[in-house]
Amino acid sequence: MSEIALLDRRWITRGVQRASAGRFALWLAPWFVLLFLGAYAAGLCFFYGLNQTNMDNRFAFGLWIFADLSIIAMGAGAFFTGFLVYILKQQDLKPVLNSAVVVGFICYSGAVAVLMVDVGQPLRAWFTFWYPNTHSMLTEVTFCISCYLLVLILEYIPLLLKNRQLRKIPAFLVFEHQFHKLVPGLAGVGAFLSFFHQGSLGGLYGVLRGRPFAYRQGLAIWPSTFFLFILSALAVGPSFLMLVVATAEKVTGKQLVQNSVYRKLGFISGVLLALYVAAKAIDTYIWLNITSPAVGFGPRDFYSYWPLSSLFLFIATVPLGLLPAILMIVPVTARKRGCLLCGAVLASGGVLLNRFVMTVQTLALPTLSFDSFLKYTPSWQEVATFGGVIAYGVIVYSLSYRYLPLFAARKGADPNASQD
């Protein structure tokens, strides 16, 4: 036991306090259980096929696509923070940059993993690269996500190499040093790629001419949801990053970044969210009054079903849109950590709700006039796979926090806090 503890000790960054190996193992244990359960469920899907899910011909997309869209929106903090730090030179956000990279890496790799379970023939998924249909939003998504995942891996590698033991290998040290020079470039490429596929994820639904609930007219070749998704992802990225760091602080009982960082993240998030709500309102107006009537659909067709009624539209705009924006912008509330985090939670919830509406409600609503409203409940295999990805995220973040200098750049944070 002590040997393991000693080994563990040797990998932890010099000069920082971390919880004992036992406590850390105890913390990880339930997450590993969840991860294995998820892996088992995914294995069932690979082995027996997607009949293990509760999806069907009408609900061809289910929990997993909702999860993908949400996870990726949440991971937007990675590219956005990189963009702010390296391109817009907002150096004061640097303390959360590493965290942002890890969160981004987790979100993207998790999303790709879920996507691989979600497709019926994962062994043929590479056909998209060999025979790409350039008109498909999904092609755009696939290309951008895989490229951006590559970028995130490249961004994650230097962070990995900062580990105490790995630094001992001179080649790695040199590599890391050289590689660092590339990072701003990578951040730029990442921002570009990420920008595109956040948008194309929105476009995924916006182009669905056959689904008037999702269909939007657009600018150039992209439907308006393309831009709305970018904006909402930009808005929620910092909020979610803030929540991750705050959770890490809560769990470890240490102050990891200064309040000013929170304020800044909150302000950015709030402003973008306000912008998003305004844009979404205009978009909804145009959609309900021009786009959908043109194809013979009206608000009645979309909002007369309980529970996914117009209430959702209201919730998504006001309590989960305007309210968090105000909370995070207005100095009186933004100064209070509680209000700020509350705003971040609400903002994240709003984007989750938006993704839910776009994915699930779109499929639940009938298109044929003699059809009925559909219901779908995910099977345990779907939930477990989703849970597995969350567990994977927690585990990777925890390990990164423990063994990598995630918050090395922090100044003024208390170095003597004792807990993990």
């Binding site: 096929g49 009949n51 997309f61 790409p132 249909n133 669905l208 298109t367 003699f370």
Partner: protein, 252 residues
């Protein structure tokens, strides 16, 4: 000259017997249902659905509507979304075809289709022992994890083409190319032909004011036309006709 194959389905003649569904499945080597399959996980490239006027008692009316791929000719929703070109509109025939061997099973096309005419193979196809000998040699069997749909019995189109080539002809004989559902209909409710040929009976029938297309306003130019003289059926099925549609009138 390229053809635009399409249909006119007379809803007044459809008795909902389901012969088209069985004939379609037999022709296209669609497997019998897995024991856990339901109406929403089965494979029915031709699916007859009920229309009901929702009135109880003696005023109740029922009709049936065969739903198959509408072979959209313009901005075909499923073609543009497929990430790996597994769906295309055939230039020679206008058939919207699905290549299950190319498909990766992402099901994006299924969400794109407003008619729900695409089906996912949730299970590996299975037949009782020996029954695989009765499979149609003109159609390959799909594996689990891929999407399939009506290809307008392309095997019959192949056979007709081959026959024409064997006889030294360049054009197929229209009598040689009749999809299984059309052939099976005991009330001759389905008319099939080339909509690009103005003299074809199907083109003439499609011009009737009694004809409409499902969700025509979406603008995908579906090639399956429906015909009815019954006002309640028209009002229920056709969004264009009267705005009498109400979400309460549900499919029973």
């Amino acid at each position: 000259m390229s053809a635009r194959y399409g249909m006119v389905i007379d809803l007044d003649r459809c008795t909902g017997c389901g012969a088209c569904m069985v004939a379609c499945a037999a022709e296209n080597n669609v497997p019998p249902a897995h024991s856990r399959a339901t109406a929403r996980t089965g494979i029915t490239p031709m699916l007859v659905r009920r229309l009901s006027n929702g009135t109880p008692g003696a005023d109740a009316r029922e009709a049936f509507i065969p739903i198959t791929c509408m072979q959209c000719g313009h901005e075909t929703p499923c073609v543009s979304v497929c990430p790996q070109q597994a769906v295309e509109v055939d230039k020679a025939t206008g058939i919207v075809l699905q290549m299950p061997q190319r498909c990766l099973g992402c099901r994006y096309c299924m969400t794109a289709c407003p008619y729900h005419a695409r089906y996912f193979n949730w299970w590996d196809p299975q037949w009782p022992p020996g029954m695989e000998q009765t499979l149609n040699p003109g159609v390959s069997v799909r594996m689990r994890g891929v999407v399939e749909k009506c290809n307008l019995c392309h095997a019959r189109y192949h056979a007709a083409t081959e026959k024409a080539a064997g006889a030294g002809e360049t054009q197929i004989d229209p009598l040689d190319y009749v999809p299984a559902c059309v052939e099976a209909c005991p009330t001759v409710a389905i008319l099939f032909g080339d909509l690009a040929d103005p003299s074809d009976p199907v083109s003439i029938a499609a011009d009737s004011p009694d004809c409409f297309r499902l969700l025509a306003q979406i603008g995908t130019d579906p090639k399956i036309h429906y015909k009815t003289t019954q006002d309640w059926i028209r009002a229920l099925a056709d969004r264009n006709s009267l705005r009498s549609h109400s979400p309460e009138a549900q499919h029973v």
